[in-house]
Symmetry: C6
């Protein structure tokens, strides 16, 4: 099996939900979602095989954006919405 | 590749979840959702190719509205629901 | 293009999440969801073309009710659940 | 059109999210979900035409249970989870 | 009609969201989800007819797990996450 | 029936939502989701039969990641987002 590299398997890269800015928090939300996928399916060839479909059909893109929105909700709360 | 312009790739345009009004907060929710899509699929031609389907079938419109509702939930909490 | 009238494009009609009663809050939830759809797809003919399907198939109705439930969650929190 | 009776069109029957018990709160969650559907599709014949499908296929039942779970989340928070 | 037994129709068995342990809270989440289904579709024969499909296809299992996750979110909040 | 081993049937392994790190919290989120599936469908042969499909199609992976995101939201709140 051609496996996802080790750093792609870390569930929470950086080990914290706290970020300096909303932009970084949003990037972390994207990363969390991707690394979950890596952990459920660590075979790179299977992942890449599915990718064209996943990132081209509108339904798949919206479903992925939905997951990012939920991860961001958690991260934003963790950071008190970067209010101050 | 014909890429999404740079400003469309910023995850949190303006760099803050705080807005003056609910109307602006709602507009930000729409923007966050769109820019997530741009980051997952930055090829404009693929995005535009899928768009007719995405914004015409009722299921796709409802799925998109669902994502906006969740983004707005986060933004509304960040702004203490614009209560005062 | 036969566009949605201007008032249907306002994202948060009334400009506030605060309502006097749960009933009004619920009506606002329905409105928020509809106006998001208008903003994503402002062509009335496309919207009306899809509507028969959207409001007749059980899956579409449940999906729409799901979005309303989330919008209402935000509005109810904004109003402290109309407790007092 | 054979319309849903007036009482089925009230969005929040009783006009409050507060209930005496979790059981009543759960019943209210089911009612909120149903009345949303009535408001989106007030034609009883269309609703009844779709019902066999909606309440027999597992996917539809799970989707409906999902909406009820979210409505209940709001109602439970409104009632401070009936803790005391 | 061969109906779900009376105890399966109670929406919140035990009448409370409070449990001694996370394990019991999780079991309650599963029960809440199942009893909602019973209330929407109280015909045991229809329910059992759909069950093979519901609990064997991956999509249905994931959709059911999604509902349980939301019910548990409510129950965990009600119990202050069993922190002390 | 070739059943899921007993430890796979425990709904909340370790009996607590509290973890030392976000990484462990994320791993718990994955476990909670998997063990729910085990409880709904405890037949290992059925589970393994569905697994190739579940972890290879992009839609299934995204749906699974969605559930993990919600479980993590609960666990992160329980741990006060590991802020201090």
């Amino acid at each position: 099996m051609n496996q996802v590299p080790d750093e792609g398997m870390v569930l929470v890269p950086g080990g914290s939900l706290l970020t300096k800015t909303p932009e970084e928090g949003r990037a972390l939300a994207l990363t969390l979602a991707r690394h979950t996928i890596h952990n459920i399916q660590p075979d790179l060839d299977v992942l890449k095989g599915g990718r064209p479909n996943c990132s081209t059909t509108p339904g798949s893109l919206t479903a992925a954006a939905h997951v990012v929105a939920i991860e961001f909700q958690t991260i934003a709360a963790a950071n008190n919405y970067w209010r101050s």
